[in-house]
């Protein structure tokens, strides 16, 4: 089985995510009415393969596998997938898998692009505990933001159905909108704390002499992202922003993160010295 590399395991994981996405479409069309485990099992299969892929890569590198865009993306997805499985065990939260699967599948397909994982020597150019802490906490924060966006989508769907008297709102086995809002808020808070820790750790990392820090694209982008999530939390907690607007802001912030993460990473001299 030596030919079965970590990328093959990841391909298998993405296949599971794909199957889960297809199954999610059926669940959605049926209005999330039946309480069942099929989608959970599919997603669990994906996360298990995904874990093997990351473990293999980590053992090969002898460090946390967060050294290039492929590894960073797969780490983010893994955090999102694992958190979805944990949250799905809460009462009436099983359908979070149906909302998370399309995100996992879409980003998973993107991560499989060979250019994100260029060949390199036996050891990564950069390693060390602080670097691993920086990358891992930030990527876990992105995972938490992703799951918050998933909960926010569930909230908006339920809220819309309740507002416009759609019978699906009552027949579906989704959680109450109040609960979804609480979960989304908590996930944003957890993500924000992790992001803050990750950014502080990043600031402590050794840099090449004379390398710009505050003008680096990734640093500016990270600071902007931090401010966006700070504003989202403060507006909700202290200025009474409505749950609907809060949910929309959480989704918009995560879309911004997704659409600009890879681009700013490529522009960053600190991440590509």
């Amino acid at each position: 089985m030596a030919w079965f590399t970590d990328r093959h395991y990841f391909l298998l994981a993405v296949t599971f995510y794909g199957l889960s996405t297809i199954y999610s479409v059926f669940l959605w069309r049926k209005g999330f009415r039946r309480d069942e485990w099929v989608n959970y099992i599919l997603l669990a299969g994906g996360v298990a393969s995904h874990t093997l892929a990351m473990a293999r890569r980590g053992m090969t590198l002898q460090s946390c596998p967060v050294n290039n865009l492929y590894e960073a993306t797969t780490f983010l997805l893994w955090a999102l997938g694992l958190a979805s499985l944990v949250y799905a065990l809460m009462p009436r939260f099983k359908f979070i898998c149906a909302f998370a699967a399309p995100v996992l599948f879409t980003i998973g397909i993107f991560a499989l692009m060979p250019s994100l994982d260029p060949p390199r020597g036996p050891k990564p150019e950069f390693s060390g505990a602080l670097r691993s802490l920086h990358a891992a906490t930030i990527l876990q924060a992105y995972g938490a933001f992703g799951l918050a966006a998933v909960a926010a989508v569930m909230f908006l769907m339920q809220q819309h159905d309740l507002k416009f008297h759609k019978i699906r709102a009552v027949l579906s086995l989704l959680p109450s909108i109040q609960r979804l809002e609480i979960i989304a808020t908590r996930l944003v808070l957890v993500g924000f704390v992790l992001l803050t820790i990750g950014l502080i750790a990043g600031q402590q990392l050794p840099r090449k002499a004379g390398a710009p820090y505050f003008s680096d694209a990734k640093v500016i982008w990270s600071a902007l992202l931090w401010l966006v999530y700070l504003e989202t939390l403060v507006a909700r907690q202290f200025f009474g922003r409505s749950p609907r607007r809060f949910a929309a802001a959480v989704i918009a912030a995560f879309l911004f993160l997704l659409l600009t993460f890879w681009f700013t990473n490529l522009l960053s001299a600190l991440h590509h010295p």
Binding site: R33, Q158, L162, K163, H165, I167, A169, V170, L171, P175, S176, I177, Q178, R179, I182, G240, R241, S242, P243, R244, R245
Partner: protein, 345 residues
């Protein structure tokens, strides 16, 4: 010995006739003794509810003879002197077992899938059993009926959802709020419908209820009954800062709550979700308030529509339930046949 059923229900007879044949619970053992002493049945169970009066009997008589004599027994027992036609139905085996299973599962009830009948049937059986009026045939038939009913409830959607306006309102509240225990309810108008809705909410955990009514005496009386408090009708908008659910059912001819009135109240509530249940006709609440963020307004038609959809969903499940019942009845008949061939009744 075969199982036969004779009776009348909401499907065959009006309430005026059903009440003439109803059995008082403490007189049932006596009636069963009488029935068995007459030699009509070796075993018997009498089910008497507001929607049906049925005698389940295990008899060695041919079905036609048994039906004629049990009918005579019923007429004589209740001293009925009117005319009786198709209102009294008779069912012989194997359809009698099929009927019993359907009754236990709530498929023959006025509200398809309701579970109250299960308890009533169990009580009727327990009463007959405790007075030793049942034997191997009825014991087996009723035990199987109870098992099938449980199986149907867990594997189908037959009893899912709310089929009344009040329970639909409660279900909606549970889709908005995580636990109802933490949320306060304002009842505007102390009518019967408001009271029923408030009681339905209480049954799901609501503990704080405030009542307001044009006549303060009625508000006080209802508040006392519900264990809540009463507030003057002139000051109820002030309650909106605290409450999360409002049930309105006044006799007002114009809207008592409109967008202009609610908008500033929502700001004071810091945009917490608010469920408004307007069960008054004419409506108490201006429909335009539903356009406000975090306001969920449902009127009696919306609630009725939810209840009807649930009923439709239940009716779609009937075919699945019938299939399960047919299989279980066939299994019971096969078991009876084997028992008979081995010399057991």
């Amino acid at each position: 010995m075969s199982v036969v059923v004779i009776g009348l229900s909401h499907r065959s007879a009006p309430v005026e006739l059903r009440e003439r044949f109803a059995f008082v619970e403490n007189k049932i053992p006596e009636a069963l003794s009488e029935l068995r002493a007459s030699g009509l049945a070796g075993e018997a169970v009498i089910l008497s509810t507001c929607n049906r009066v049925e005698i389940y009997a295990a008899t060695t008589l041919a079905p036609d003879a048994a039906f004629a004599r049990i009918k005579q027994f019923l007429i004589a027992h209740h001293a009925f002197d009117g005319a009786l036609g198709d209102e009294l139905y008779t069912i012989a085996e194997p359809h009698s077992l099929h009927h019993l299973f359907k009754v236990a599962a709530g498929l023959d009830s006025m509200v398809v899938g309701e579970t109250e009948i299960f308890g009533q049937l169990k009580k009727a059986y327990d009463l007959a059993f405790s007075h030793k009026h049942t034997g191997a045939r009825l014991n087996k038939a009723f035990q199987r009926a109870f098992n099938v009913s449980k199986h149907i409830r867990t594997t189908t959607n037959i009893q899912r959802g709310s089929v009344s306006v009040m329970s639909a309102a409660v279900e909606l509240a549970e889709k908005i709020f995580t636990t109802l225990a933490e949320h306060e309810v304002l009842v505007i108008g102390a009518g019967e419908t408001s009271e029923k809705t408030a009681r339905a909410l209480q049954s799901r955990g609501v503990s704080k209820i405030t009542v307001t009514n044009r006549s303060p005496e009625r508000a006080l009386a209802l508040a006392a009954e519900l264990g809540g408090r009463a507030v003057p009708f002139e000051t109820w908008p002030e309650e909106f800062e605290r409450i999360d659910i409002a049930v309105s059912s006044t006799a007002a001819t114009t809207h008592i709550l409109d967008r202009a009135k609610l908008e500033p109240l929502m700001k004071r509530r810091q945009h917490r979700p608010l469920l408004l249940i307007d069960i008054a006709v004419p409506r108490d609440i201006d429909p335009s308030v539903n356009e406000l963020d975090n306001v969920y307004l449902y009127n009696v038609d919306d609630l009725q529509s939810i209840a009807s959809d649930y009923l439709k969903l239940r009716q779609e499940e009937v075919a699945r339930c019938e299939q399960i019942i047919a299989e279980k009845v066939a299994a019971l008949l096969e078991a009876n046949k084997i028992a008979a061939s081995l010399g057991r009744s």
